[in-house]
Amino acid sequence: MPSSRADAAAPPPIKAGRGQLAIRAAGIGVRYSLRFTKKTTIRQSMGQILSREPMESFWALRDVSFDVERGESLAVIGPNGAGKSTLLQVLAGIILPSEGSVDVNGHISSLLTLGAGFDQDLSGRDNILLAGAFMGLDDPVVRELLPSIVDYADLGQFIDAPIKTYSSGMRARLGFSIATSVDPDILLLDEVLATGDAEFRAKSKTRVIELVQAAKGIVLVTHDMAWVVEYCNRAMLLEKGALIVEGSPADVVKVHEERSARRKAERAARLGGAGL
């Protein structure tokens, strides 16, 4: 572990009492070891141990630093595999960074890919209770929130049916209402704005705007550039785990679109060249 590097990157912690900064990320790096990739079998890892190959690894994120102030809505954009979701996982505390540090000042709600963690056999209502327990909420609190969650998700009679009978839109709606019901200081959203029907999309936009206005930090991963420009007050472009540019949404989106257009052109040129 390159701890010297991490130590060097350690920032002064957020000053208590000011309540200004919501998140400070300093030199975050996340390294994935390829030794224990998905579904390793004993044979494979024995082989690895015996052959004493150097441990293969790659950096999903490297040297990413940024601050999020209270009331800010930060959009994280970038091509697929840029490390956007990994970044959210680090902020949520799901993944411990391999280097660098994250300072989070406030409570985080992090139903990232909404609805994916539901228990298929339980009813919507039971899943709300279960999700509340997973998020560490006190039971009376969840029961108090229950009617408003059910109401907001607008599932009608389906709330007492098993989740496996739900459509993907219904699932996303329920996930969104749970994630935003807990009144978090900092909300992490991953690709949720494109879910559900037009009506619910409009509704969820309203809710996100409400949360932004309530001076709660939001970090949002999305491919919807119109959203970024319109509703976020800052944006950040990630590519291959590295922070490319950070600034006003319009500028960052412009850079992102230029870069992806260039990549597309390069790819087309390569393919064209191979074809000749």
């Binding site: 505390g93 000042n105 339980l122 279960l130 327990a133």
Partner: protein, 336 residues
């Protein structure tokens, strides 16, 4: 609403916002679970991670990890309860007979062994159905719990990637759900015991004590297999055979005394010691003592020394495997 207006709104809000939660900065390697820091009732309507500082270089020691494991489970008792309830509901929901299978299953298994060993191999242990039921019930609990624990963390893959929560509640829930199954299993036991009325004794009241020892041992194994299964997905297959072998090598279908009479055991005291130290042997013999007794007599007290030794060993096992689990926990979301 125009972006300008939002920007103006945001600008107006910034700086003047009252601090609702006093920041609690702690130097920890992992985010402390929110509930732990507050009295249970004082939890506000907010989510799991309070102000935290996560640093790549911090690695807590074994004692810290063990303390964290205990806190995790204590503070998330309700989550464990919900998971247990969900597990039981699911096991009953898919099948026609539902939860009745908890009762039918050990009876059918007992019938298989009675036919196989009692009728075909002609062993003449008196009241043999009761003799083996005393082993089948705890064994069914043990295997169900260990198998469920092995898949408990892996099967929550999606949730683990979405929410930060103490993963150790998953094997705890799997083990605890097994207790309920064991409780159901006592119904056919008492039904069968009505056929052997002279074996009913007040010693049956000791069953919860033996079950408590078994719970501790199972929990220790559960931590180990649930964490190891993430890194070695073969474990499920290996486990099936290891468990089957373990059952036949444990005095379930036969008594420990029978083993001791064989020539091999009389010549090798070491082998005999291993057979006696087998946790499952201690448990089976204890259950059998209070449910069945001796072949020609009524029930008796279990071997307290053995149970006490197993309790101490199980607590040590829990300490070691819980630390093992907690040490690997930060890797779960990456490897899954």
């Amino acid at each position: 609403m125009s972006p300008d207006r939002i920007a103006a709104e945001l600008g107006a809000r910034r700086g003047g916002f009252p601090v609702r939660h006093a920041p609690r900065l702690r130097l920890t390697g992992r985010p402390p679970s929110g509930v732990r820091m507050l009295p249970f009732r004082a939890m506000s309507a907010t989510s799991e991670v309070p102000a935290v500082f996560r640093h790549a270089a911090t690695r807590p020691g074994a004692r810290r990890l063990l303390g964290e494991a205990i806190d995790d489970v204590r503070s998330r008792r309700r989550l464990v309860r919900y998971l247990v309830q969900a597990d039981i509901r699911k096991k009953g929901a898919d099948t026609f007979f539902g939860n009745l299978w908890w009762i039918l299953d050990p009876l059918l298994q007992m019938a298989v062994y009675v036919v196989f060993i009692g009728l075909i191999l002609q062993r003449d242990t008196p009241d043999y159905p009761l003799f083996i039921l005393a082993a089948i019930l705890p064994w069914k609990w043990f295997t169900t719990s260990v198998n469920d624990a092995a898949s408990s963390v892996v099967s929550q893959e999606k949730l683990i990637k979405q929410i930060q929560f103490p993963k150790i509640v998953l094997p705890v829930a799997a083990t605890t759900a097994g207790v309920v199954g064991f409780g159901f299993g006592l119904i056919p036991l008492f039904a069968i015991m009505l056929l052997y009325i002279d074996r009913i004794s007040p010693y049956l009241l000791v069953i919860p004590v033996i079950a408590a020892v078994q719970y501790l041992f199972t929990l220790g194994v559960a931590f180990l297999v649930s964490a190891a299964n993430i890194f070695f997905r073969d474990l499920g297959n290996v486990l099936r055979h290891v468990l089957r072998l373990w059952f036949y090598l444990s005095p379930g279908l036969y008594s420990l005394a029978l083993l001791d009479e064989t020539a091999v055991f009389q010549e090798n005291p070491a082998l005999s010691f291993i057979a006696h130290a087998n946790p499952m042997a201690i448990l089976f013999e204890a259950y059998r003592a209070v449910m069945y007794g001796t072949p020609d007599g009524g029930a008796l007290m279990p071997d307290w020394t053995g149970l006490l030794a197993l309790t101490v060993a199980s607590l040590l096992l829990i300490a070691v495997t819980a630390v093992f689990f907690k040490r690997l926990e930060p890797q779960f979301a990456k490897v899954l």
